[in-house]
Symmetry: C2
Subunit: 408 residues, 2 copies
């Protein structure tokens, strides 16, 4: 277990480097009821950093599972206005928002995927204003993890020390075992930003992904796209880190310029269900075919959420020697797994990955090729022999990845 | 610990006998994060009884304590509109409401009483519409308890089995150890209702409370007052039990007809603070003097909440041989302690203790003598030698209590 001084150091890191809370700001923490100790540590760190008020929005997958099991779909799909208002309130009042992601990857494995996706569709629709604002950095937010028993058991099955092992992995990925974690993160971000600069200077029109597993995909990049790290600037001008840990640099694909086929490199855990060994085919940016050995219904539900979930909204580059990748642990949690592998996302593009994107309307963003949707779901395509070649407008090329790792 | 089958039986009892949930109704459970097992059991019992949807509103005194410690009073006093709406929503949608009361009696002992009462004043003001509706039985609600470590330690200090001992007390008070708890409760309520009938037939104008500890108090009763047990009829015509356990029968005092002095018989735990060995003097229904050996500032804060907290809103009769009283345990929790002793409440009167009171305006209720306030706080005056004499309009008297017990 992460506890004692390590837990409070962790909380401090999230408050200072993650959401970068400024004196007088409100803070909301979304946290599973099982991780009450972390919620308390974050609350304390928040107040010590000068938070005006701290509120915890408790999550509980066991309660959710009971609701999914017993309640009618119409009840589950109804979000009271006060609940929607409570999320938009965070934007209106410029709260910092910490989301603790510690789901049981298979919490909802016995719930019909149809029901799950009807609910997640309704939620995404009702909360679109909030998620649009979050993705446009109208507030400073940070997704972060702590181990729970159910999650640890999935990562280290049949191991009595599962929680301890997962804790060690998280401490390592979060650089909590380094002398000054905050400084370690600054150095790390500088490396990511130098790569982003290289890619921005190159102004590629396409990236070509190819792997022996069958992936052969041309991903066009949006006009005026910007490569960025998870260190971003919020609308109020203050920097923050939207994900911790983070190893990625990412940008917006062109919603109409994706061609070919991709094969998944890892399972995707979405909405308490696992999708594995899947394949997706694109034409003119749109998904025209897909298959999955495990979780086909969940993949189908995801792709059919809205018109935007049939196109890509993110392309991200991570080498196979990233600290998280080198651990060789499959986390069944996107926050970690996406930082061990090149990945793409179905759904909405971050407006911040387009030049001045936070000032553009959805129509204007779409015109440049940045996709819109109520969803944004990452999935991993980075195999050990993945090659990535950047293609410029003049057709000249630069090899970016060879055998799954950066070569620039 | 109350767990396993006993816990699920307990949850069923609350859902069926407490809020008497009807098929298709929503259910909200207010519960401390430490009592997650009970929230889950109540949720399951709710769905099994046909709840359309169950939501849990988590409480956490440790988080509250951090907020009281670090946040400015103005921040603490601000209740966002969505939060107020979320409570009124329960009335609009006719939800059942279960409130799990398991506070640490001294959670906020180091917080200035001034700060606590400013906040509770602001909360009471913002949530008046909801609490008015609850007290008028616009929805079916039930206050109930489960043991927590902090609470058990206060009740059984320096005892390693504190939680076990408190669990046994609660199981006993809730009649969970009887063969059919539901039937046991029906029998018990029938006894309480027969006493209420006797008092209603008598139509007393005053009750005279007298004890060797110095209590000498004339409590006038409101015009058209009704004595009732905790078994009440909600606006939708369905019966429910507002408190479990309950041993009381109670009615509305006349807000302008209380004279004399009362001495407390037990400590009062209010808002995470303890008020003990206190005394209150009334003239024409109004508090004109008060003192307390412990928690004077808390008592002062309570009495000065609004104009209504300077008058009485409830008078309740319980014999010293009630099962809870006979346990000789001081619970430091009003839900239990008020059922071991005759008690009064400062603040709002239940409109349901006036004939057709749920159809009357606050002005009309006040004209009959029923007090209005944002607060309602019970406190115990039942000593082992308490006598209670009922005085009719024609000045004839009937002795109701002698040596702390019913004599009718």
């Amino acid at each position: 277990m992460i506890k004692g001084k390590v837990l409070s150091d962790y909380a401090k890191l999230i408050i200072k480097v993650g959401v970068n809370l400024q004196k007088g700001q409100g803070l909301e923490i979304s946290c599973p009821t099982q991780k009450r100790d972390f919620a308390l540590a974050l609350t304390k760190a928040g107040y010590n950093a000068g938070a005006s008020i701290v509120r915890v929005r408790w999550q509980d997958q066991e309660l959710d599972k009971l609701s999914y099991t017993y309640a009618d779909i119409s009840e589950l799909c109804h979000l009271p206005k006060w609940l929607i208002d409570s999320k938009n309130y965070l934007v209106e009042k410029n709260f910092c928002y910490v989301a603790v992601s510690a789901d049981d990857p298979e919490a909802f494995k016995n719930i019909p995927a149809e029901k799950l996706f009807a609910v997640s569709k309704a939620r995404a629709k009702a909360l679109k204003k909030f998620s649009d604002n979050m993705m446009a950095n109208a507030i400073r937010w940070c997704v972060v993890s702590v181990p729970t028993l159910a999650w640890a058991k999935k990562v280290f099955p049949n191991n009595k020390n599962a929680v301890k092992l997962l804790s060690e992995q998280i401490e390592n990925a979060m650089r909590l075992n380094q002398e000054n974690p905050s400084t370690a993160w600054q150095k790390h971000i500088a490396v990511l930003n130098s790569r982003a600069k290289f890619l921005n200077d190159a102004e590629f029109e396409y990236l070509h992904f190819k792997s022996s597993n069958g992936t052969d995909l041309m991903v066009g990049l949006a006009e005026n796209h910007v490569w960025t790290s998870a260190l971003e600037k919020a609308k109020d001008g203050v920097y923050f880190m939207a994900n911790m840990p983070t190893e990625e640099i990412f940008t917006a694909p062109h919603r109409e310029r994706v061609f070919g086929i991709l094969k998944s490199a890892m399972p995707l855990c979405s909405n308490g269900q696992i999708i594995d060994e899947f394949s997706i085919t694109f034409k003119d940016g749109k998904i025209v075919d897909y298959s999955a050995k495990k979780g086909y219904e969940a993949l189908k539900g995801l792709i059919n959420t809205d018109s935007g979930t049939k196109r890509l909204g993110e392309v991200a580059l991570i080498g196979k020697n990233s600290p998280i990748a080198k651990s060789n642990v499959l986390f069944y949690n996107t926050l970690f797994d996406e930082n061990a592998s090149c990945h793409l996302a179905i759904g909405k593009a971050y407006p911040t990955t387009i030049k001045n994107g936070d000032k553009l309307s959805i129509k204007e963003l779409e015109k440049l090729g940045a996709n819109d949707s109520r969803e944004h779901e990452d999935f991993m395509i980075g195999t050990p022999d993945l090659s990535v070649v950047g293609i410029k407008k003049d057709k000249s090329t630069i090899t970016l990845f060879s055998d799954g790792e950066w070569v620039i």
